[in-house]
Symmetry: C2
Subunit: 158 residues, 2 copies
DNA sequence: ACTTGCATTGTTATATGATAACATCACTTA
DNA sequence: TAAGTGATGTTATCATATAACAATGCAAGT
């Protein structure tokens, strides 16, 4: 789990690696990491917090890279579709993936005080829910798992 | 788990029980199940599908029980706050609780074809995620768990 | 180089989901 | 019956997301 995001870490490396991996994966799969898409990923990578689409759009606007909602939604759709970013349903917001390239079922720990989001990974068909779904004949294709609470830093501060 | 919702069942009893339990719980806790709130719960209970707030509002309008968004959002807030309904984050929609009255951490199985939603219950601190959160010092307060896939009926039809 | 085809981007308009703010009404209890 | 609280009515607005279509860019084959 990438709970390092709750503590100090080499964030510059964190960002650089995110872009590098995305570029490599795109090259390998024949996807186009265009300037807009790349910039949106950089913006998401700049913080371990989920950002709303319109917050991203505001930054793009300031840089002359797009003025209308579809611009940012298309870039976000691309990043989510190919696993470079995730949508946090509870927040209607987006965050860069910390394990791009590898297929995985993400789960998130969301701090309600500082809004930091850590990405964990789970077995989609595992646990009680997987057992019950299996028993009921329900086929799980995707999972949304988001835990809300307090990160260690905010808990200690309180 | 209430996976009976994927199959034929006595739905009239299902609905009646939902209202009866809510009324009993409200009486016990000194909450007011007003006509609007009761009617919204009835509407949600009428199907095992999540409904958007505006879909509920459209029905209320047709019955002269409220014309503006805040009417339905206030009723839904009440129902969710007291555990008579849940919000499905993935769908931005609401569904009646199948275990009203008892505190619980709900999880949902959402069929992408027929939109039926079954409610299961999980141990919020259990499983891999609970372990990892504990190890990271993260305190889980609430969980959003939504599995998307195919219910038995729709899987067989395909 | 040319052109054909497809992915990407630009732009307008609108759909969909949610809340702030304030006035009014109703129920309780002292 | 007045005061306090919770519930409702209403207007306006904010926030999130997508449809539709035009214009552009890029890559592959000839």
């Amino acid at each position: 789990m990438d709970t390092k995001v709750f503590a100090h870490h080499d964030h510059a490396a964190c960002q650089a690696e995110g872009i590098a991996v995305a570029a490599a994966v795109c090259a390998q799969k024949g996807l186009r990491l265009t300037p807009q898409r790349r910039r949106v990923l950089e913006i998401l990578l700049s913080r371990h917090r989920a950002m709303g689409a319109y917050a991203v759009l505001a930054i793009l606007r300031g840089e002359g890279m797009g003025n209308q909602p579809p611009v940012v939604y298309r870039a976000l759709d691309f990043l989510v579709k190919h696993g470079f970013a995730h949508k946090i349903e509870r927040l209607n917001a987006f965050i860069a993936c910390t394990r791009p390239g590898a297929p995985h079922a993400p789960a998130f720990l969301i701090c309600r005080t500082c809004d930091t989001v850590a990405e964990a990974h789970i077995d989609p068909g595992g646990g009680t829910l997987g057992d019950e779904a299996g028993a009921a004949g329900f086929t799980i294709e995707r999972t949304v798992v988001e835990a809300l609470g307090l990160c260690p830093k905010c808990r200690d501060a309180a």
